[in-house]
């Protein structure tokens, strides 16, 4: 479609290695406030870019208009070492819309969500919904990429992202909570996912915690993390620090460093800990089959049996480390350079059932959802505060608990894992990195995961 424009841009830049790209993201969203329609918003982002490598410096140019991209002609030397030479995979990939986004008119979507959300607002709970801000966003991302005059790589990924923020009052407390659903594909993410039931169940669960939750005794306990928590841990505590650009220092002033720069040993977790990043999962938010440097995508096994196995690499870090690229370069829009990014990052499930994880716990806590999470810039010290948590006593899940806190280091937690069940569930997220900031769609996932004898705090 844009091959001529890409070739014309390429001709202006005589570098041996160059990435030329057309990139568009068309987004349509609608918003509801307390069950009532509150407006729509659309966005069109479309343009061209080129990134070259010369004398250790990457130079990136982008514009909505291909004819406005012209080299400045400056001579610089810089930090980058070279480019790895994996073959360019020129092909087409696409995420399938099982139900086309265009198969339902705007007014039908509005009407559908009116019904869902007006019913949600009738959910019987003890507390009061102070506000429920709901957002439905559908987008189509299209890329055409030419690597050093290769044939054109074409990618098309439609996505749906549903988010809602609940402020709930009751029993002398106010709780604010945030939820996300979605993936790549079409309207099946809206109409086949029991959306109404999910929101109602979340409302009831928070309400139950607010009204029946018991205080937590701090101390060492067994903890079971749900896939929502194992997912955020997979992404933030392992995925990010395994980005090789971060390890090499390229992101030191922005998103920070990695604990792997200081570790002497490869054993970062117990032998039941396995973790992968895999962009080839169909229907995932982080889906792609060829990265933005033309390298074939594949599953990357970052941790195998608790040991560091592989990092996320692009062509530049692949050259510097001598290990080559494993297809991890991605950009968020036309005017952003490709960076090493996660796609769908998850702890690999095991053989146990959830019941087997629980039955072996004498005194513990099941962390089902969280309301706050953050981590230091080496990706070592982290803290989770449960939104929904339950006591586990003598192998049975019991009463809800009020907001237990889990705070510790990545290796402390990963070495405490002694069991993972056979479930695998994902949640969507927007992963931020780079300057200028780039948010790219990802999935975060995992099984239920049991940690033995870890320190639980209170707020």
């Amino acid at each position: 479609m844009y091959e001529d424009e890409l070739r014309k841009i390429s001709e202006l830049f005589p570098s041996r290695y160059k990435e030329v790209r057309y990139h568009s993201v068309i987004t349509k969203g609608m918003r509801y406030l307390n069950g009532k329609f509150a407006g729509i918003y659309n966005s069109e982002e479309e343009g061209f870019s080129v990134r070259t490598f010369n004398n250790g410096v990457l130079q990136f140019y982008a514009s909505p208009n291909s004819t406005e991209i012209k080299p400045v002609g400056e001579s610089l030397t810089g930090w980058e070492a070279g480019v790895s030479e994996e073959p360019v995979k020129s092909a087409k990939y696409e995420s399938e819309e099982k139900v086309k986004l265009s198969s339902m008119s705007i007014d039908s979507k509005i009407s559908y969500l009116n019904d869902v959300l007006s019913n949600v607002m009738k959910t019987e709970i003890k507390g009061k919904v102070k506000s429920l801000v709901f957002s439905y966003v559908e987008s189509v991302e299209t890329k055409e990429i030419m690597i050093s005059d290769s044939d054109v790589i074409m990618g098309r990924v439609p996505r749906v992202l549903i988010t809602y923020n609940i402020v709930l009052e009751g029993n002398g407390r106010t709780v604010t909570a945030w939820f996300e659903e979605g993936g790549s594909g079409g309207l099946e993410w809206l109409i086949q996912r029991n959306l109404q039931e999910k929101i109602e169940e979340n409302l009831r669960s928070i309400d139950r915690v607010m009204h029946s939750g018991k205080g937590v005794t701090p101390g060492k306990k067994d903890v079971i993390l749900s896939p929502i928590l194992s997912g955020i841990m997979a992404h933030e505590s392992v995925g990010h620090p395994f980005e090789m650009d971060r390890i090499l220092g390229r992101e030191f002033a922005q998103a920070g460093s990695s604990y792997l720069t200081e570790f002497k040993e490869d054993q970062v977790g117990s032998n039941v800990v396995n973790l992968s990043d895999n962009p080839t999962i169909p229907t995932s938010s982080g889906f792609y089959l060829i990265d933005d440097q033309g390298v074939s995508a594949r599953e990357k096994k970052l941790i195998v049996s608790g040991k560091v196995n592989e990092m996320l690499q692009d062509r530049f870090t692949g050259f510097r480390t001598g290990r080559g690229s494993n297809g991890s370069a991605r950009s968020s829009r036309f005017d952003r350079e490709p960076l090493i990014r996660m796609s769908n990052t998850y702890f690999v499930p095991g053989e146990m059932s959830f019941e087997e994880l629980v039955e072996d716990v004498r005194e513990g806590i099941y962390f089902k959802n969280y309301m706050e999470w953050n981590i230091d810039d080496m990706r070592l010290g982290q803290r989770y505060i449960a939104l929904e948590a339950y006591a586990i006593n003598n192998g049975e899940i019991g009463e809800p608990l009020l907001f237990p806190v889990l705070e510790g280091t990545t290796t402390y937690f990963l070495k405490s894992v002694d069991g993972v069940d056979r479930n695998l569930d994902f949640k969507p997220g927007m992963c931020g990195k780079g300057d200028p900031e780039q948010g790219v769609p990802v999935w975060l996932g995992g099984p239920n995961m049991r940690l033995r004898n870890v320190n639980v705090k209170v707020m």
Binding site: L33, K36, F37, A38, G39, I40, Y41, N42, S43, E44, E45, E46, V57, F60, Y61, A62, P64, E68, V72, E74, L76, G78, W79, E80, I106, D107, I110, N114, K130, S131, V133, N165, V167, E169, T176, G249, R250, F252, A253, A255, G256, D335, E337, M371, N374, D376, D377, M378, L380, G381, Q382, R383, I385, F403, E407, T409, D435, P436, E437, M459
Partner: protein, 411 residues
């Protein structure tokens, strides 16, 4: 462009160009030059409205969308301002640096490796409204931040201005290096309450969230510690004033907000007392007030902030027992209504005893309520700095703040 068939509209024709220079280990890693142009548009018929970011303006297509929408419970309201206005506030040094970055490598010298980013942004913004306002503004700014490293220790500083001055960037690197010299040892702290001195970088990060909570939309939806705040309510220490400053000369800003209301400076908190939410016309209606010139269609927001300076010299503040926090990141709220948050310190977080640095305490977590932070401010420095950086992108002018009883935790 005139729109017909709508009750109200606003269009913002924008054209931006950006230069980003990325520095790794005191060398240039990449140079990015990119531009964008298009329209942001708000069209309204009755209480039906459409907001979009468009490459071109296609009236017929947009009218078709608006016609099928239901009435919305809240919709943007255009201010009555009319007339023509234009200004160009782009300092020539910004254009010069955009064309030629050769001034940067000489700044990257020194014993410790330097990492960071220098960004120049130049924006043309033409606002047209259905009430007859035609405003053409051009503005440019530079922001730079540098992180320096020595072994396991690091320090950072930032600079924001409407002009490029080599010396200011050199000072920025030098300030980070000076912080790094404060100690060459490690010190330990446990979970507990501490007196802290927060640097302008930390205040920039925390006040970005405070101003977000002051937004009328956040307050209206309960995602704010200021949801029920009324003018005169005591919400902070009486030495603390937080101001929205769209007219600041060094930061510069737009003369009109997105609804055509003239922007102006105002206190969000004045000497410890709540003064106003940040409002556009539609949230002003909810709060029975007038717009504060902070639109954002639907979402009001600040474009720049300031905390009033205090009376203490920075050096005099560095007395006694406290923890100095150079920088932070990853601020997350577990409860927006109660302001309960935590944020992780990075760079030069240093334990002081009797005014002397004991050592770097590493990465600890401030885990407290935002309300407590502003209520427990006991001292502000005379000196202030205009800063913004990657995890505090909203520019502002901030002093150092000494704060009592701040809860710290350690992973």
């Amino acid at each position: 462009m005139e729109f017909t068939g709508f009750d109200e509209y606003a269009t913002i024709e924008y054209q931006t160009k950006t230069l980003v220079i990325k520095v790794v280990e005191s060398k240039i890693e990449n140079v990015q030059r990119f531009s964008d142009k298009g329209y942001e548009v708000m069209l309204k018929k009755g209480n039906k409205y459409y907001v979009g970011r468009e490459k071109t303006l296609d009236q017929r297509k947009l009218a078709e969308i608006v016609n099928i929408l239901p009435e919305s419970q809240i919709s943007p309201i255009i201010s009555d301002t009319s007339g023509e206005y234009s200004q160009n506030k782009v300092h020539p040094t910004l254009e010069e640096l955009y064309q030629d970055v050769s001034a940067i490598p000489p700044l990257l010298e020194g014993k410790n490796p330097i990492y960071g980013t220098i960004t120049v942004t130049i924006v043309n913004r033409n606002l047209n409204t259905s009430k007859g306002l035609k405003s053409a503004e051009k503005k440019g700014w530079i922001n730079a931040y540098f992180r320096v490293k020595r072994g396991e220790f690091s320090a950072q500083w930032a600079h924001t201005s409407n002009r490029f001055e080599q010396d200011k960037l050199r000072d920025c690197v030098e300030t980070a290096n000076e912080l790094l010299k404060l100690s060459d040892r490690r010190a330990d702290v446990n979970d507990g309450k501490y007196t802290v001195v927060l640097s302008p970088l930390v205040m920039a990060n925390l006040m970005m969230y405070a101003s977000g909570m002051a937004s009328g939309f956040s307050a209206m939806t309960g995602n704010s510690i200021f949801s029920d705040s009324k003018k005169g309510d005591e919400v902070a220490s009486d030495v603390f004033t937080l101001r929205d400053i769209p007219d600041d000369e060094q930061i510069g800003n737009w003369e009109f907000d997105d609804e055509g209301e003239r922007t102006f400076r105002k206190e969000i908190i004045y000497q410890g007392k709540f003064n106003t939410h940040l409002l556009n016309n539609e949230t002003a209606k909810v709060f029975n007030a007038k717009s504060t010139g902070n639109a954002g269609w639907i979402y009001p927001r600040s474009l720049a902030l300031e905390i009033d300076t205090g009376t203490s010299k920075f050096h005099d503040m560095m007395d006694g027992n406290f923890i100095y926090v150079n920088n932070n990141w990853y601020t997350r709220f577990q409860n927006m209504a109660e302001g309960q948050f935590s944020t992780v310190t990075r760079d030069a977080t240093i334990l002081f005893r009797n005014g002397k640095p004991e050592g770097f305490v590493g990465r600890v977590r401030i885990a407290d309520k935002l309300g407590n932070i502003v209520k427990n401010v006991i001292e502000l420095s005379r000196e202030s700095y205009v800063v913004s950086w990657w995890d505090a992108p909203l520019p502002g002018r901030y002093p150092f703040a000494k704060i009592d009883n701040v809860s710290l935790t350690r992973a």
